[in-house]
């Protein structure tokens, strides 16, 4: 699903200030029926993350935290079974899981002698049963299962998607009989930067030499692509030469501008692969 910048902008435009709930996703799918759901979800998620990054700081001032906490206390005081925390998050335009974290942290500060460590909080978010307050546990759980952009479950889904596509890619490479070294093997050899796969014998894809392949189970938008270029793709180029990036959920067409330089983008496993022929002579 390769989108032009204009197509992408149209979608992104519809995502401004939309809460990350399953209802929002449903509406988005109705609005763009021709796009694949996975692509839409990926774009939604990325846009939402950008939004959160921009506004993150204002939700973390001590005044904001205090006011959220008071509103939470008042809310559950009135009705502990109502979705207090979730509604609070939606109302102030912040991710429910992250709001849950703020309130949980604040709650623990109040009830524990020592300030809670990050790992304790993470563990409680993963398993709210550990939260000493039953009402808060339910509220947190509700936030987490209703958040489709943040939270331990979403993180796990993303991780699983990434892993699955690496496996898919590996299968395709095996099927094509292309021998490769995977990330683990590379790491064992002490490589400092490791793409998903390094081809032991380079191939040409659409006329471009490829030494390595990186699988990205997300949509390649400008922001993430720039970050990947800087942190990963150029680093791979610097060590292994030109390579291929597969954005399984598509990318913005205009970003595929470094082909000559040695970074090729595709939205699927390439079909036009030329391998080195061993001459008989």
């Amino acid at each position: 699903m390769i989108l032009t910048k204009a197509q992408y902008d149209e979608i992104a435009q519809c995502l401004v200030s939309v809460p990350p709930t399953r209802q929002s996703l449903r509406k988005l799918k109705q609005r763009f029926p021709s796009q694949s759901q996975a692509t839409l979800l990926s774009i939604f998620s990325q846009e939402y993350q950008k939004h959160i990054k921009r506004t993150h700081a204002k939700h973390h001032t001590s005044e904001a935290i205090e006011s959220y906490y008071q509103r939470y206390l008042n809310g559950v005081g009135r009705n502990g079974a109502a979705p207090v925390l979730l509604e609070l998050a939606n109302e102030v335009d912040y991710a429910p899981s992250l709001m849950a974290r703020i309130i949980l942290e604040r709650f623990l500060q109040e009830h524990e002698e020592t300030p809670p460590s990050k790992s304790v909080i993470n563990s409680m978010l993963r398993d709210p049963s550990q939260i000493p307050d039953g009402v808060l546990a339910n509220q947190v759980y509700q936030c987490i299962v209703n958040d489709c952009c943040y939270g331990p479950l979403v993180d796990c889904i993303k991780h699983a998607i990434g892993h699955e596509h690496e496996v898919l890619l590996r299968d395709m490479l095996l099927e094509k009989n292309l021998s490769f070294l995977d990330e683990d093997q590379l790491r064992a050899k002490g490589y400092d930067k490791t793409p998903d796969f390094i081809l032991q014998v380079p191939v040409a894809v659409e006329g471009h030499i490829i030494h390595w392949i990186e699988s990205k189970a997300s949509f390649g938008d400008e922001c993430s692509h720039q970050a990947y270029l800087h942190d990963q793709f150029w680093s791979y180029w610097n060590r292994f030469g030109p390579g291929l990036v597969i954005y399984w959920y598509g990318f913005i067409q205009e970003l595929d501008c470094n082909r000559e330089r040695g970074i090729l983008l595709k939205a699927c496993f390439p079909t036009d692969i030329v391998t080195l022929c061993h001459s008989v002579a």
Binding site: R22, Q23, A81, P83, L86, R126, D127, P128, S129, I131, G134, A137, N138, Y141, Q142, V145, N146, P152, L153, C156, I157, K158, H159, A160, I161, H163, E164, V167, L168, D171, K189, G190, Y191, D192, K193, H230, W234, S235, W237, N238, R239, F240, G241, E260, R261, G262
Partner: protein, 1231 residues
């Protein structure tokens, strides 16, 4: 000096004698006593003869070549001639290049004063000042700027006698006292015979310049590129800037066009490119004014005199008495292609019939004279010409003037052209490649700390980021390296704190440098000669034409005249600027160390040995390889040496030489204490002794070309220059005898040395003044060895690659053809040979004892390819052997270590004690086994080497030779492997065991339990199960619906739930896509789902709504879950969460509360062995501690009792439980 010429002209002295006289200070027995007498009286002047002759010729030609390559500021060539000119005593000695050969103050007075090295026979004209002013302290401009224009004076002069020619008639020896009467040559003379220029030519900007500056002894030839009113190829960096005639400005546009052209070239159709390049903008002023006059042999005036001087001049060239062979050839070609004679200022160019043979009349009175003279000289230089590239030969052979004046020479040139294979062609520059990451040198084990490792990781990326940005932007107008990248580079260098990091970075830097810049154009990486082969395979002549067109477009128009200053073209500029911007002392030091080491290594590389059977085809094939390897090594060395010179002399480099003698002396005193960065003198001497000058001298020249002004005055370097001068003189091209250096080898050395002598920082008088010491410096070569010098290692390709300025000759000729000077014809080829890889196998350092000597002797009489093969095999097998030992013996030991460690952990409990201690124990047990490595290594080499040798040598190799070669390969490989193994095996085992220990200990950590043994999917599995991510996502949706908030119409259908659990089962059975974290989350979600089922919290879709699931359905689903937990999950399922207060609390909301499903679930858990009774009891117990509504607490307590009341219930009780289910709510009542 003029006296000498006079006596020659008067035929008092033979040319041969004169040249002998000039070349050697002592008189030879061949000399006629009369001649000797004549010349000996002139002895004090001997040294000054050649400079005089050269200047004389330049001066004489000044009126003929006005439109020739223009003379930028430097050599103001007013016609105030040389000899009589009252030059003030020179000051600083080394100044402008223009004054390379200071006018020897003509005859008398000046002559008497023997020029001393740094006295100043010359003074600085305004030119040099300006020119230097243009340069920054870094000293070297990119491209052609700066000192490249040293060649301005435009005309040069010289003459000579040749030993070969016997014109001897003599009369009285010249009278010394007459000397003073010799009138200045240039001032008077009558106009050219028979040429009445129909039009006067207004003084060109050049001549104006010349009239401004005093010293007129421009020795150098003007660069062809900056033709007044035409397009000079001087780039915008030209120090003259405003001084350029307007026409020169268009050069920038032209370059701009060229750049665009280059970028487009791949897509562009050949016809278009052709049109733009060849027909391009017309050259109006030029062709308008200066159509070439036709030259006619019949109209030559004073033939005899010209012949004689041509002979003397040619002889001086042949004897290497002139500093730069190619400069003289360039000058001669300028004469050949002179367009027309310019009138002198007074306008009287009448021939003076009265004194045809004296120096008083101008030597060149017409274009006819010039052409005649040029052709005469060319005839003498035929041998050199015949070694030029094919293109130049073609242009020469096609030159109509040459044909007209000497059909014989033309015929020889044509024959040479036809026989020539010396095509110098341009390979397409591939885009830059990064230095690849090599675990052996780049992984963590090579760094002192994690931090250093990660810092370097970042630095590598920053370095390439900077490089990419430079590639993208350095041609943009207004972009500045320092402004654009300086701070980033310095920030990066700032992080290189540890010395070890510096050496890593320097290695990266140096490798990248070699990879990108080996060719002069600086982009190359293509193997020499590869591209043309591809084309010829395609067999299309049109392709060849297309290619040539392309070359014209992409090749720069000029390399900056026949003697450009050292520059950093192409990518080299990046590396230079990087060094400058980094301005890091540590970096520079490490870089120098590394460059020096690499230079030493390459310089001593074993290169081809004499080939006994030179004739047959096989050795021809080999020679291509040898040549290629030699070229690669040579080009690498030159590049490295250039950068070494740049960095080493960087602190001392300045735009100007020290202004006063006192200052200079104090600087000398300081500098003479500083040891050289690399002992180049020793390397030079070694090189000469081993007859490897052809390898050593070219890189040494690159190194010296970047020296600062003081360097040539330091004793150490001065002695080097002396040796080089001596070498230069000894490279007489016409001498071809056994043991002599090959012709092209000589030509390469002459070219690079000639170039060096013209470098601005080399004192201009050095060349002519050192001769006194020459004889003292005989280098004793090892006569028995032929050495590289005697091998035909240099071909035209390499010659032109190293000395692109030789291509100026072709440009000059081409511009004649096209009728415009310096334009379309000028393609200086860029040759991009060489790849960086594989500079050949290191010679084994093994030579011990008689066996080694025998091996050496064995190779001596075998083709060099045999030796290379054996060395290569030995090197590879030796290395493979080590790898094999690592993979087998060491890996076994590591496995033993792991099992020993396991035992240890079992006996000593979980943490097993201090890791360091553990390691010691293990190593002491295992390291002794390392001794086996040597035995195994020997076996490996023994087994593997012979086959490899056999596969690589020709089938026809005699059996005895083959078996010797195999044995030697085995020996060398074994030695290599065993040397390494015996030194390193213990450390290697230690390192690997240490890694294994920490791995094992980590594996004991808290997460270890989560891993455990994992099953894969079944053989028949086709991996079509739903993806884990999809399932988590689906289950999450169900959970979120169940937890709410939800819209009234939202819900889950029971079928969907069943389907979901079915899919979960499939996914858990096909493990293809499942990773542990995903499985853990699935497990947890399934528990959450079970809790929601138990509490009847799943909103069901469909009409009979608000009710939840039917109990039966719920029970079925719980059954499915139970079996998934039992059979399919491979990670621990957090079943205790079923009894967490939160999940049990869900029941509190339901009315009426229905406990039967929970009870059912608990019993099933026990039944299936998923949870123990006591475990459940504990959970239930702790539930009671939580705060509940009173009624709920009571019901919970009842459940607890109920569960406890039925201990160890076997099968039948299950049914009882189901009975209970039939009437809901009665269970509790029964209890």
């Amino acid at each position: 000096m003029a006296a000498v010429l006079e006596s020659l002209l008067r035929e008092e002295v033979s040319v041969a004698a004169a040249v002998r006289w000039i070349a050697r200070s002592a008189q030879s027995s061949e000399d006629d006593p009369g001649e000797a007498a004549a010349l000996s009286s002139l002895r004090p002047l001997r040294k000054e003869f050649v400079p005089f002759l050269l200047n004389f010729l330049r001066e004489q030609s000044s009126r003929v070549l006005p439109q020739g390559p223009p003379t930028p500021a430097k050599a103001p060539g007013s016609s105030a001639a040389l000899p009589g000119r009252p030059g003030g005593p020179p000051r600083g000695g080394r100044g402008a290049r223009s004054q390379l050969f200071p006018p020897t103050e003509s005859s008398s007075a000046a002559a008497a004063e023997a020029p001393s090295a740094r006295r100043g026979g010359r003074r600085r004209g305004p030119g040099p000042g300006r020119e230097r002013g243009g340069r920054g302290p870094g000293g070297l401009e990119e491209g052609v700027g700066g000192e490249s224009q040293l060649w301005p004076g435009g005309r040069r002069s010289r003459g000579s006698g040749s030993p070969g020619s016997p014109s001897l008639v003599r009369s009285d020896p010249p009278n010394l006292s007459n000397l003073e009467e010799f009138p200045p040559v240039g001032s008077v003379p009558p106009g050219p015979a028979g040429t009445k220029p129909s039009r006067r030519i207004n003084p060109t900007p050049v001549s104006e310049e010349r009239s401004l500056s005093k010293p007129k002894t421009c020795f150098t030839s003007p660069p062809i590129n900056c033709v007044p009113s035409s397009q000079p190829s001087v780039p915008d960096t030209s120090p003259w800037g405003h001084g350029l005639p307007p026409g020169c400005r268009s050069l920038q546009e032209e370059r701009e066009m060229l750049r665009k052209e280059r970028s487009k070239q791949l897509q562009q159709s050949p016809s278009t490119t052709c049109a733009t390049s060849e027909l391009g903008p017309p050259l109006p002023s030029w062709t308008g004014n200066l159509t070439a006059e036709s030259a006619d042999p019949a109209r030559v005036s004073s033939r005899q005199r010209l012949e004689l001087i041509a002979l003397v001049y040619s002889s001086c060239i042949a004897e290497n008495l002139v500093p730069n062979l190619f400069l003289e050839l360039f000058f001669v070609l300028q004469l050949l292609t002179a367009r027309r004679m310019v009138a002198t200022k007074d306008g009287d160019l009448e021939p003076s019939p009265g004194a045809p043979d004296s120096l008083e009349s101008p030597l060149f009175q017409s274009v006819h004279d010039c052409v005649f003279f040029a052709v005469q000289v060319l005839e003498h230089q035929f041998q050199v010409l015949s070694y030029l590239d094919k293109g130049t030969l073609k242009l020469l052979a096609e030159n109509e003037r040459l044909l007209c004046f000497s059909p014989a020479l033309q015929g020889r040139l044509r024959a040479a052209y036809e026989g020539s294979v010396a095509k110098v062609s341009l390979a397409m520059p591939p885009s830059a490649q990064a230095v690849s990451f090599q675990p052996e040198t780049d992984n963590r084990a090579n760094f002192s700390s994690d931090r250093a490792f990660h810092t370097f990781k970042k630095q590598r990326d920053v370095f390439f980021e900077v490089l990419r940005e430079w590639e993208d932007r350095h041609e943009e107008p207004g972009w500045d390296f320092e402004k654009g990248l300086g701070s980033r580079i310095r920030a990066m260098m700032g992080q290189l704190s540890a010395a070890c990091s510096h050496s890593h970075f320097v290695r990266l830097f140096q490798k990248q440098l070699l990879q990108m810049c080996q060719s002069p154009g600086g982009t190359g990486g293509t193997v020499l000669g590869e591209a043309p082969d591809v084309l010829s395979m395609l067999g299309a002549d049109k392709l060849g034409r297309l290619r040539r067109l392309q070359e014209r477009l992409v090749a720069p128009q000029s390399s900056g005249g026949p003697c450009p200053p050292p520059t950093f073209p192409g990518c080299q500029g990046f590396f230079r600027d990087f060094i400058l911007s980094a301005s890091s002392f540590q970096f520079n030091q490490h870089l120098m160390d590394s460059l020096s080491l690499k230079i030493r290594e390459l310089n001593s590389l074993a290169l081809p040995q004499p080939e006994p059977s030179d004739e047959d085809g096989e050795s021809d094939v080999d020679w291509q390889g040898e040549r290629r390897q030699f070229a690669m090594v040579l080009l690498s060395l030159r590049l490295l040496a250039k950068f070494l010179g740049f960095v080493a002399f960087l602190p001392y480099r300045g735009p100007e030489p020290p202004p006063t003698r006192e200052l200079q002396d104090s600087i000398l005193a300081l500098r003479s204490q500083v040891p050289p960065a690399l002992d180049v003198r020793a390397l030079l001497q070694q090189g000469l002794r081993a007859r490897r000058a052809v390898l050593t001298v070219p890189w040494l020249v690159e190194f010296l070309s970047l020296a600062d002004h003081i360097v040539p005055l330091l004793d150490y370097y001065r002695s080097i220059f002396t040796v080089l001068l001596h070498l230069h003189r000894s490279l007489v091209l016409s001498k071809e005898s056994e043991g002599e250096m090959c012709f092209l080898n000589k030509l390469l050395l002459l070219a690079v040395l000639g170039w060096l002598f013209q470098i601005p920082t080399v004192p201009e008088d050095l060349f002519f003044l050192e001769e006194g010491q020459l004889d003292a410096l005989e280098v004793d070569t090892v006569a028995s060895e032929l050495g590289l010098d005697g091998m035909p290692v240099v071909d035209q390709h390499l010659l032109y690659t190293c000395c692109p300025y030789i291509g100026e000759l072709r440009k000059l000729l081409a511009s004649w053809v096209s009728g415009s000077s310096g334009r379309s014809g000028g393609f200086v080829r860029k040759i991009t040979p060489t790849t960086t890889t594989g500079l050949g196998a290191q010679p084994p350092r093994t030579s011990q004892g008689l066996q080694a000597q025998l091996a050496q002797a064995f190779f001596h009489n075998q083709p060099p390819s045999l030796r290379r093969t054996v060395e290569f095999v030995a090197e590879r097998i030796g290395s493979n052997c080590v790898k094999h030992i690592k993979a087998t013996l060491v890996a076994d030991l590591v496995r033993q270590a792991e099992s020993l460690l396991q035992e240890q952990l079992v006996t000593q409990g979980q943490d097993g004690g201090d890791p360091a201690q553990l390691l010691e124990i293990l190593c002491s047990q295992l390291c002794p086994h390392g001794a086996q490595a040597l035995t195994q290594g020997r076996e490996f080499c023994q087994k593997k080497s012979p086959g490899a040798v056999r596969a690589l040598l020709p089938e026809e190799t005699p059996a005895a030779v083959l078996s010797s070669a195999e044995n030697i390969a085995v020996g060398l490989a074994t030695e290599k492997a065993c040397t390494w193994l015996s030194a390193n095996i213990t450390a290697l085992i230690r390192r690997e065991v240490k890694a294994a220990v920490s791995r094992t200990l980590r594996a004991q950590g808290p997460e270890a339990a989560a891993r455990g043994e994992r099953r894969g999917c079944s053989r028949a599995c086709e991996h079509h199960a739903p993806l884990p991510s999809h399932l988590i996502s689906e289950i999450k949706d169900v959970l979120s619906l169940a937890v709410g908030p939800r819209d009234p119409e939202e819900g889950v259908s029971p079928d969907h739930l069943e389907q979901l659990l079915g899919q979960l089962g499939q996914t858990l059975q096909c493990r293809q896509f499942l990773c542990p974290p995903a499985e853990q989350h699935l497990a947890k979600c399934s528990v959450d789902l079970a809790s929601l089922l138990v509490a009847d919290h799943i909103p069901v879709l469909g009409p009979p709504s608000p009710r939840g699931l039917e109990r039966g359905q719920a029970r079925r689903l719980l059954h499915v879950l139970l079996s998934l937990w039992k059979d399919d999950f491979q990670v621990p399922v957090p079943l205790q969460l079923l009894l967490s207060p939160r999940n049990v609390g869900l029941l509190a909301d339901t009315r009426p509360r229905e406990w039967d499903l929970l009870l059912f679930l608990l019993r099933e858990l026990v039944e299936k062995g998923l949870m123990g009774r006591t475990e459940i009891e504990d959970c239930l117990g702790s539930l009671r501690d939580a705060q509940w509504p009173k009624d709920f607490s009571e019901e919970l307590a009842t459940l607890f009792h109920l569960f406890l009341a039925e201990p160890h219930r076997p099968e039948p009780q299950l049914r009882a439980c189901e009975l209970v289910q039939t009437n809901r709510g009665t269970v509790l009542a029964q209890s």
